[in-house]
C-alpha cells in the first residue's frame, strides 16, 4: 500500500509490498545494467540552480547560493561527468536509480512519476536504437511485456523545423505550441496553408506513415533517421508510431527521442533519446533512457 503520509507535494513514501516489489525490480534492472557494462553512480539530490526558471523546489543555502532539488537525472549526470568526457575517448556507460522531486507530478490520484531508474552512454553516436532495446529489456524485468506498450518515436526540434519551412522563418512559440497540441485547424488558418500542406501536416500529427507527408513538409531526411528504429520496434512486436511534436521530459535532447506508453496506466513508462554533452575538449554525443519504475510496476500489475 502507499502510505497516505503528510509529506510535501512531490515526494514519495512507500511501505510494505509496494516498497518490496519496487526494490526487487530495481535490483534486477541494476544487475542487468551492470552485466551490460554500466557503472552505477550515486547522484546528489541537491544541485546549484541555473538562471532559467525551474519547475522544482528551490531555496537559498547558508552561503547565499540558489539550490535546487533534482527533478531529472540526465542533465545532472551530464554536468557532473562532463569533466571526465573526451570526444575521442572510449564510451562511458553509467546507470542510477533514485527519486526525483517534482512538486506538480503529472499524474493525479495514482503513484506519481517520482522514482526513476536510468542509464546514460557517453561517446556513442546514434545511440537511440541501443537505448530503446535496453529499455525494453528493463521493462521486461519489471513485468511489462513490450508488446503491451505503445512506442512513440520522434526527432527533437522537428516541430520547429517543419513550422520554419511552412512559415519561411523561425516559428513563434505560439505556433510551436499549436503543433504540440495537434491543432492543425488553427495552424492551417494562422499560416494560410494550402489544402495539400494542411493534409500533410494533419497526416504527420496523426502519426500516419512518413512516406505520405515527410517529403511534402521538407523533412524526409530528418524523419528517415527514425526509420530503422521504428522497423526494429515493429519487428519486435511493438505498436509504434512517429510523433511529430513530442512533449519531451527535457529540452536537452538533440536527435532521436522515444517514449513508451502503458495501455493500463496510460502514462509514460519510460523515455529517452540522444543528446550532446559539452565536455572539456568538445562535444560528446550521448544517449540514455529512464524508467518511471513505480508506474512500470503498476502497469505490470
Amino acid at each position: 500500500m502507499n502510505a497516505p503520509s503528510k509529506v510535501p507535494a512531490g515526494v514519495l513514501a512507500m511501505v510494505g509490498e509496494t516498497a518490496r516489489r519496487q526494490r526487487e525490480a530495481e535490483n534486477r534492472c541494476l544487475d542487468l545494467l551492470a552485466a551490460e557494462g554500466f557503472q552505477q553512480v550515486h547522484l546528489p539530490v541537491l544541485e546549484f540552480a541555473g538562471d532559467e526558471p525551474g519547475s522544482g523546489y528551490r531555496f537559498v543555502d547558508r552561503a547565499g547560493h540558489l539550490i535546487a532539488l533534482r527533478t531529472d537525472f540526465t542533465p545532472l549526470a551530464a554536468r557532473l561527468l562532463a569533466p571526465c568526457l573526451e570526444p575521442d575517448a572510449p564510451p562511458l556507460h553509467v546507470c542510477y536509480a533514485g527519486e526525483v522531486i517534482r512538486p506538480q507530478p503529472a499524474r493525479l490520484r495514482r503513484l506519481p512519476e517520482l522514482y526513476q531508474l536510468g542509464f546514460e552512454s557517453y561517446g556513442v553516436r546514434d545511440g537511440a536504437t541501443r537505448a530503446l532495446a535496453l529499455t525494453l529489456e528493463l521493462l521486461r524485468l519489471t513485468g511489462v511485456e513490450p508488446a503491451a506498450c505503445h512506442l512513440a518515436v520522434g526527432v527533437s526540434g522537428l516541430a520547429e523545423k517543419v513550422l520554419g519551412r511552412l512559415c519561411g522563418g523561425p516559428p513563434a512559440d505560439e505556433l510551436v505550441e499549436l503543433l504540440r497540441v495537434a491543432d492543425v485547424d488553427a495552424l492551417g488558418d494562422a499560416l494560410e496553408l494550402s489544402p495539400g500542406r494542411r493534409a500533410a501536416l494533419a497526416a504527420a500529427v496523426l502519426g500516419e506513415p512518413a512516406a505520405g507527408w515527410a517529403g511534402r513538409l521538407g523533412v524526409a531526411g530528418e524523419v528517415g533517421r527514425v526509420g530503422p528504429l521504428l522497423e526494429a520496434a515493429r519487428a519486435a512486436g511493438l505498436d509504434a508510431s512517429f510523433e511529430l511534436a513530442p512533449r519531451l521530459a527535457g529540452d536537452y535532447y538533440r536527435g532521436v527521442v522515444f517514449s513508451l506508453w502503458g495501455r493500463h496506466t496510460r502514462a509514460v513508462l519510460a523515455g529517452g533519446g540522444e543528446y550532446v554533452v559539452t565536455g572539456v575538449h568538445g562535444e560528446v554525443p550521448a544517449a540514455g533512457a529512464c524508467l518511471a519504475l513505480g508506474i512500470a510496476i503498476e502497469e505490470a500489475a
Binding site: R109, H150, V184, D185, A199, L206, G207, R247
Partner: protein, 205 residues
C-alpha cells in the same frame, strides 16, 4: 469501450445531430437516457458534464476524448490534444465595455471581470494591459454596466445580448470553437478508435 466526455450545455443537441448524421445514434440515446449522466451508445460510454469540466476529465484520462470549447480548454490549462474543430458553436472571446467607454485606450490599469480569469489575465498581458481580473460566475455584462469593472471579457456570438445591455465589443481577443479533444496518452494507445469517432463527427481524421 471508449469514454467520451460531452458538455451538457447548448452544444449537446447539435452534437447529437452531427453524430446521428455520421451513423452514431447519440441523439436517440440521450433522449432515452433522461437525466442520466452516463449513457452507453454502441462502443462508447458518454459522460455528460458541465462544459468547464470536460477538459479536466479528458486531461486526467477519465475520458479518452471529449468535446470542449477552446475557451474552456485554455481556461483550465488542460494538456489535451485538439484534434479537430467541430463545425458549429463558433464565437469570439472579446473585451467588452459599456457604450461610450473605451477602457483599453485610456491607459493605466484595467479592471476586467470575467468567467475566464486565467485566460483573461493571459490575453490582457499579451496585449500589454496591466490588468486586474475579477472572477465572476455569470451575468458578467452587469459588471461593466454597474461599474464593478472597466470592462468584461466574455464570449460574443451575435452581439445581441451586448446591444440589449448597452455594451459593445472593444476588441476581439480570441476566436473560439468547440474541439474534439483527446487525452495525450489515450491518443497513443487508442488512436484508431479515436480517429474513427472523429470521422463519425465529420472530421478528416
Amino acid at each position: 469501450m471508449l469514454t467520451v466526455a460531452l458538455p451538457k450545455g447548448r452544444l449537446l443537441e447539435p452534437l447529437g445531430a452531427l453524430a446521428e448524421a455520421g451513423g452514431l445514434p447519440l441523439a436517440a440515446a440521450l433522449r432515452a437516457a433522461g437525466r442520466a449522466l452516463v449513457v452507453e451508445v454502441g462502443d462508447l460510454r458518454v459522460l455528460l458534464l458541465k462544459d468547464a469540466d470536460v477538459p479536466v476529465y479528458v486531461a486526467q484520462g477519465v475520458a479518452e476524448v471529449g468535446v470542449a470549447g477552446l475557451d474552456q480548454v485554455l481556461e483550465r490549462n488542460a494538456d489535451v490534444l485538439r484534434l479537430m474543430r467541430v463545425p458549429f458553436g463558433h464565437c469570439r472571446l472579446c473585451l467588452i465595455a459599456a457604450d461610450g467607454s473605451r477602457p483599453a485606450e485610456e491607459g493605466g490599469g484595467l479592471v476586467i471581470a470575467s468567467k475566464y480569469p486565467r485566460l483573461a489575465a493571459e490575453l490582457a498581458a499579451r496585449r500589454g494591459h496591466q490588468a486586474t481580473v475579477i472572477p465572476l460566475a455569470g451575468s458578467v455584462e452587469l459588471a461593466a454596466r454597474l461599474g464593478l469593472a472597466d470592462a468584461v471579457v466574455d464570449l460574443v456570438e451575435t452581439g445581441r445580448t451586448l446591444r440589449e445591455n448597452g455594451l459593445h465589443p472593444v476588441d476581439e481577443w480570441l476566436r473560439v470553437a468547440p474541439y474534439l479533444i483527446a487525452n495525450r496518452a489515450a491518443f497513443h494507445v487508442r488512436r484508431d478508435e479515436i480517429r474513427a469517432l472523429g470521422r463519425t463527427l465529420g472530421g478528416a481524421l
